[in-house]
Symmetry: C2
């Protein structure tokens, strides 16, 4: 069995506002963040519907590399969580404001269970 | 004298969160928004330092086309303002949260007068 894949993440002081906003500037990634906000941690496969695996990997990488999410491997799965505390320390209130805006844009969706 | 140039702007219901975040996903455009937040309206030339005119036009166009700013021509000038009320109606609290995050990232800069 090969060792679990290690993912690189920016340190907290490397998290830059412009890049966080870039990571969130795509409807697919916004939906991923919305689903993650409803779970402590999620399998990457549950973050989007009907995406090619390579596309899914691309979007989860953008979120990770820009400091929005934390990724770890677990067996054959790739588990992802929001870096809620890091983002809150770095940019107080921003993540909640973005989630509120997402809900303002698509009322009701944020109440779905994302499954 | 030629008539003033007319600029197109998205209607309020055409303002989309992902695109607003895209418009703000660049340090130059974030700085433009910061300066605009300190003024009711500003000449486009005052929104950035040492940018080629074509680069300046590119960035102000991205802000305008994604619903962040309003642009009007005035003589030979191009005057720009934040669509504060429209953004507040569409995404309550978001703009202020972004400005607060920008200040968290670069303390003190947001207190400069931008001139």
């Amino acid at each position: 069995m090969s060792p679990p894949r290690a993912y690189t993440h920016p340190e907290m002081d490397e998290i830059v506002l412009a890049r966080v906003l870039y990571a969130l500037s795509d409807p697919i990634r916004l939906e991923m963040v919305r689903r993650l906000s409803l779970a402590q941690e999620a399998d990457s496969l549950d973050l989007a519907d009907n995406l090619a695996r390579s596309t899914l990997t691309y979007h989860t990488r953008i979120l990770r590399e820009n400091g929005v999410t934390f990724t770890r491997s677990h067996g054959r799965s790739c588990l992802i969580s929001l870096r809620t505390d890091d983002l809150e320390d770095r940019f107080p209130g921003l993540l909640q404001s973005l989630l509120t805006s997402l809900e303002a844009e698509e009322p009701g969706i944020a109440k779905a269970d994302g499954s």
